[in-house]
């Protein structure tokens, strides 16, 4: 396997395709020999990011795509997720750990991404997410 390479994936906005994304990321973390806990964290973060892109960004519009890039290197895995939605302000998301929100049925996805990955950056008005996990 080369030391550095990029895997690209483009998905129609169909939630059932999250299983395709899950399979791809599972193989990548396995190939990169992440430890079990780290592998599970990456897997969860990618599922959450994919769900956000398809459901909240693209609003399940099958004409819109969610784009994923997996930049593999010896040191880390960098994942870029983009959607074709209207964007959002990532700083304007309610804190799911606030006692008022603890029993909310949603709103934990971005929080879980942030605690699972080492670096998380939103750009392009929330339409682009870059996240890094170090080995």
């Amino acid at each position: 396997m080369p030391e550095e390479f990029v895997i690209k994936l483009e998905l129609p906005s169909e939630m059932q395709l999250i299983y395709v994304l899950d399979s791809v990321v599972a193989e990548i973390v396995k190939e990169m020999q992440f430890e079990e806990d780290a592998a599970e964290q990456v897997n969860l973060a990618v599922i959450e990011a994919g769900t956000n892109a398809i459901r909240h960004g693209n609003k399940n519009n099958l004409h819109k795509r969610a784009y994923f890039e997996f930049h593999v290197s010896n040191e880390c895995l960098t994942i870029v997720v983009r959607d074709e939605g209207e964007g959002f302000d990532p700083d304007d998301v309610a804190d799911p750990l606030d006692p008022e929100n603890l029993l909310s049925t949603g709103g934990r996805g971005i929080f879980l991404i942030r605690v699972s990955m080492d670096e998380v950056t939103f750009s392009d008005h929330g339409r682009k997410l870059t996240m890094v996990k170090y080995k």
Binding site: I18, Y19, D22, I47, T51, P96, L102, L103, L112
Partner: protein, 115 residues
Amino acid sequence: MNVNIRERDGVTILDIQGKIIGSDSLDLKRIIDEQIASSAEGEAKLLLNLAKVPMMDSSGLGVVVAAYTSVQRKKGRIGLLNLGKSINSLIVMAKLITIFERYNSEDEAIAAMNK
């Protein structure tokens, strides 16, 4: 994801198998809502057996939270059985660890939920 439903001593047990990710949460919500709706006030006792669930995302967790709220409203009880490390971590991270009743054996869960 597959769900098998069975009854034991007045407790409805949902044996869930497979990851709960993506659109699975909608299926699971429908199944749980049906079980709660068919229970009389004060008699909803739901045990989610997660022994064969290796992973759950935030949507799945949202369904479990919604089930907790619905069951509370009906003065019933809901328990989580056989949480794996991954789902336990998820619940800890979300600060829900003190909210849910958690059990490591079915016998223990049934006895506690019938007290």
